[in-house]
């Protein structure tokens, strides 16, 4: 793992230039300027878009601000997918920066999950970790880890701290050397349809 550190860093620090544009239908006091941001690929939309919300809240009336949701060219963007996945899935061939439309009204309950707070995102993230570890280590490692270690993983992701995250993640990525690799490798395949499936 150590010799792949450059690759790990490149993966972690991957960014997508994004342009957030407020939907014209939204009622604003004055014209809202688009907000540009470099989004980390490994993170989740609702985790990193606080600034967007603040920016757009400045030009809106407070009573109109409901839960923020994003869509790209008509497709609502599911926040529980990582940002990199969303980009590669929907807009990998488009011109950069990636233009996302920000909505505050008409939350599509059928398409998207609600995200009231960061703890929801944390729960989703931790469940993914545990699922993966079941396949890798029969969930021994993740169960041996203490609560503070789980927290460290989450905080590393949330604050974009590579070393903090990988200090804990290293344990999850260790494999017994005599086997030369993991017996079972978890991966997920995403398709641009409503359903998604996870396989081994």
């Amino acid at each position: 793992m150590a010799d792949d550190k450059d690759v790990l860093r490149d993966v972690w620090f991957g960014r997508i230039p994004t342009c957030f544009i407020l939907n014209q239908d939204e009622v604003t006091e004055r014209e809202a300027e688009p907000y540009y941001l470099l989004l980390p690929r490994v993170s989740y939309l609702t985790l990193v878009t606080d600034k967007v919300r603040k920016h757009f809240h400045k030009v809106m009336r407070t009573e109109d601000a409901e839960e923020m949701w994003f869509e790209y060219e008509g497709t609502p963007l599911k926040w529980h997918y990582p940002i990199g996945v969303l980009f590669d899935l929907h807009a990998s061939n488009t011109v950069l920066p990636w233009s996302i439309t920000v909505h505050f009204k008409n939350f599509p309950d059928r398409d998207l999950l609600h995200c009231p707070s960061n703890s929801v995102i944390e729960a989703h993230f931790m469940s993914s970790i545990k699922e993966a570890d079941v396949l890798k280590h029969k969930s021994q490692v993740v169960n041996d880890m203490q609560k503070k270690d789980h927290k460290q993983l989450w905080m590393g992701l949330q604050n974009d701290k590579f070393d903090q995250f990988w200090a804990m993640n290293r344990k999850l990525m260790e494999y017994p050397t005599e086997e030369g690799g993991f017996r079972c490798i978890p991966f997920r395949i995403y398709q641009v349809t409503f359903l998604f499936s996870s396989c081994v």
Binding site: D4, V7, V11, G14, Y35, L38, V42, P97
Partner: protein
Amino acid sequence: MAAVTGNTRTVMTDSTGESQRGGRVLAPGRGGRSAETRWKRHIVGQLKHRDLSQHAKFQDLIRFYTQLLDRTTLTKGILSGSVRRPSSDSSISSLLHRNNQLKKTTGELAYQVVQLQQQIKIKECVLGEQHARRAEERRRLAGAFDARQELHERVEQVQEENGGLKTDYDALLERQRGAETKLREEKVRGGRLLEDMIHLKQQAAAHMNSRNERKSRAREANLQKELQTAARSKVTMDSCSSAPTSRSSSPNTADRTESSERRHRLFRSASVTSPRILSSIRELFQKRRGHSVSSLQEDLQRPVGICVSARVPERALHTLEAHEQGINAVRFSSSSDLLATGGTDRVIKLWEIRAGALTHRATLGGSTEGITCIEFDPTGLRILAASYDKSALLWRLDDSVPKLTLTGHSRKVTAARFSGCLHQVVTGSADRTIRLWDLHRAACVRVVEVASYCSDLICSENCIISGHFDSKIRVWDTSNSSAHKNAPLPSLQLMIDSSVFQSHASIDTP
């Protein structure tokens, strides 16, 4: 297998268990390290490309945009601040707040400035001290340099002096060598002169010898003539003639020979033994009469050899086994009818000389070691002998037991002599002393320390002459009345190459 490992790699890099990235080509591996590294490099390259195209380009742009946005909002806020009081108040208060903050910071900075100035002063003091120390060190260094210079000069001086001394020394050496060569030359010359002198003396002696020979021949001729005339003439017999009648030759000739004997005793034939020469010489000088029986007898038996020149004896007249071991001393008595011999066998034997032969008369014992020297006293009645047993012994003539033993020396006594007076004896010994003894008391009256051991000594009336191992002859003066008071002083010292054995003959010739 390689494809699976490729999958492993991609999923591992994506720890959250998410999908493959679109647009990434997985190299279908052939297995082996090169394939592994190749796809790795491929992946790395892809990542970098993505990073470049998506991230790096937009990074600065977005940053500047947000900054601009912030500034515009701020300015918008400030511009619109004049309309809305609370916001302006807030801005003023914020400004005041900022003002206070700035004042605080200036105060802190002023305090820091003061502190720093104090530190500067301290450092300057330290610097001043160091300068002072440096100056002092410089002075000391200069002092050391001067001292070194002085020492250098002194060294040079000393070297010059040494050079001068050396030249002096060389000059002296040259002179010494010159002097040495001159000395050698002088020695050679001296040697040559000595040879010449000896040669001259030899010539003179030869001359004298020839003269003496001529004279003797002349006298012989005269004698012959007289004999012939006497033979021819008739002479009446005299009753006082002492010649025995049993001789074959005529009494006249006996008479004549006797008279001529007396006059010409010196001119004996060469066949005379050494004691006879000694005795004859002694007779000549001391005017004593000795028995002439044997000499007359010989002359009568050989009428031819009457007067011939005196020569060193060549062959012994008589040989006798006298002692069991070596003989060290032989002495005639003063009346020359007794011979005493002594040697390693610790006895002295007395011999009477009769008819040309020695007959044993007496043996004197009493010494515990060998005899070194024998002397008869002037009366001929006592014999003094020196012995290896560190004593000198005195016998009466016919006593076989010594009358006196003089002990006192610590080593062998080499010589014992009667001194000028009858009752004093002088002994010389190997213990480097010469002792004077008084015979009446049989005690040593004086001890004289000499530097070397005395091998022989003789006495005359006023002096004692001793010969020593260190090649010196010492002459001691005993002429003053009481020998106690005066130390006999050496009055003559001769250097001779080998040790000297003195004999009467050499001393008594003037």
